[in-house]
């Protein structure tokens, strides 16, 4: 019985999600200019659903204090209150409102994941393009070093680093940004290797432009498209990684609301048939699925245009 119900629930969710995606697309087409509208019309419903979800998450993150009924770390009652009209999703092990923390989690978890991805891209792309531009021994030395760093699985590496530097938000940001910048380095280097050989880069070099000018003004703009898709994928990896670390109790530390640690704190409820801990986990899954759908569409477009 429970399986049938769930199957029905999933089907209804997919149906509602796709129709909401369709409505969202029509809305976007209506309010944007003609050309953007044309472009948006090519998006499949999954991608529209993805964009809608991302938009909702951004709204939650930005307006968290206005949407959430209580304060982020307010202890309101005894632990594990059931779902009710006062506490929409009940309270957690310490008696904090789960719904409130879910909203604030959008701000903390997604915000930090975004910050880390941005940092990783900043360092990864600049160093990657630098290596491709300089070539020779500098390129070789940097690439081999990165190869060694990439030979360690990223979760294992971050666990090792967290042991050494301790678990604080700062060390979390620095460690994961460093690990991920190695992956970005590889992509950025590969993309810019072909750009570096083009005539206009040669011309800029002959003009005597500085290295930073070459990287930022000549190469980066032309490597933007593949890097943008990579940004979405990287964001998913980073987001899943900090959620996993938080779930292990090594990521964002309390009382900061965070989805990974919310799952861990309330995991015991599962054994009593209460699905509350699945909700923050589902929030993580939903966002990564949404981003992946959008990236999938963009990648598909990019490869289609090439043919």
């Amino acid at each position: 019985m429970i399986y049938l119900q769930t199957l029905l629930g999933v089907l209804v969710f997919i149906g509602v999600g796709l129709s909401a995606g369709w409505v969202f697309r029509e809305m976007l087409v209506f309010i944007t200019s003609r050309n953007t509208g044309k472009f948006l019309r090519t998006a499949p419903l999954t991608a529209c659903f993805g964009m809608l979800v991302i938009a909702i998450y951004i709204i939650c993150a930005v307006f968290a204090p206005f949407i959430a009924p209580y304060g982020e770390a307010d202890i309101l009652s005894g632990g594990f209150e059931p779902w009710s009209s006062t506490y929409i999703l009940g309270t957690d092990n310490l008696g904090r409102d789960v719904f409130t923390r879910l909203i604030y989690g959008a701000r903390n978890t997604v915000g930090i994941a975004f910050l880390i991805t941005a940092l990783a891209f900043l360092f990864g792309t600049i160093l990657g393009i630098f290596a491709a531009l300089k070539g020779g021994i500098i390129d070789q030395a940097m690439s081999r070093l990165i190869d060694v760093l990439m030979a360690i699985p990223s979760l294992i590496f971050s666990l090792l680093m967290l042991t050494i530097f301790g678990t604080s938000v700062l060390s979390l940001v620095i460690i994961i940004a460093t690990i991920d910048s190695t992956r970005v380095f590889r992509i950025a280097r590969a993309v810019s290797l072909s750009i570096v050989q083009l005539d206009y880069v040669e011309a800029a070099k002959l003009r005597g432009e500085s290295t930073s000018y070459l990287i930022l003004r000549e190469i980066l703009p032309n490597a933007m498209a593949p890097l943008a898709a990579e940004f979405g994928l990287r964001f998913c990896f980073v987001f899943l990684m900090i959620s996993a670390l938080s779930f292990l109790g090594l990521g964002l530390q309390p009382p900061t609301a965070d989805w990974g640690s919310m799952v861990r704190d309330n995991a015991d409820l599962i054994s009593f048939g209460d699905i509350t801990p699945l909700i923050p986990a589902g929030a993580i899954a939903l966002l990564t699925i949404a981003v992946n759908f959008v990236v999938d569409w963009l990648l598909h477009r990019a490869s289609g245009l090439k043919d």
Binding site: A151, I156, T288, N292
Partner: protein, 317 residues
Amino acid sequence: MPNIISMIIKRLGLGVLTLLLLSLLIFLSVEALPGDLAETILGQQATPETVAAIRKDLGLDQPPITRYLNWLGGVLQGDFGNSLALKKPISSLIAPRIQNTLFLTLYTAAIAVPLSIILGLAVSLFRNSYFDRITNTTALAAISMPEFFVGYIMIYFFALSGYFPSMANINANTPLLDKLYLCFLPALTLTLVVTAHMMRMTRAAIINVLALPYIEMARLKGAKPSRIIVRHALPNAIAPIVNVVALNLAYLITGVVIVEIVFVFPGLGQLMVDGVKFRDVPVVQATALIFASAYVGLNLLADIISTISNPRLMRQR
């Protein structure tokens, strides 16, 4: 033939070099610790004399190079030093857990590999149909889910109804059948996560082969689609598929850490996470080295197999 052997030796040499660099990195990262191990062990009781005594005991008074060589020598003989939190030799902690983790990984591989290859074949046979699209989208969604989400969903659906236990509490004396039963949910969770990856990559590998002219020839002479896939495309896609399998087994290594926590499974991943929590540096070093070696080894295997199966790759080097 000598070509192949020299290639394998070259790759193995490169792999060993990577492992050496890794061990150096893991060793050095602990050097960067603020304070030193002796003070960490003693904590509040640290007086200059006791610190000096422990430093001598652990060999911390020697230069880093000597210590690195000693540590590496010990590791090669299976001696990882002592755990700080549990005051026991790490090798005795690791031995049973490594078996459990290996068991779980192989169990998962035994389900996931055949399943994902069959699914990948089916999907590429019916590519661009609704079946293909739905499977692909589902796989994309499955890849995006955190392992613990899948794990708890499994618990919610299969453990609460009493079909399978939610805790995989096994030890060396558990009979094999019981082990298979107890570990079913963790293995299923890992399978779901890995199958999606493997299926997508298998599909991509076969579709790549399907774009080649000889497949078009087969199609023109009127061969059935199923025959084209199985007889013509599959033999040439085996190399990339084996590559995919090895890469995903390497991926399993990280997934196993989270799943072990969800199902309270006494494996290596749990040992590592506990080590990180108590800042038990030698334990973390040892487990990180084991995980990293397995990862490097599997990647190396994938590399060697794909090179052997595609002689063109060998010419370039």
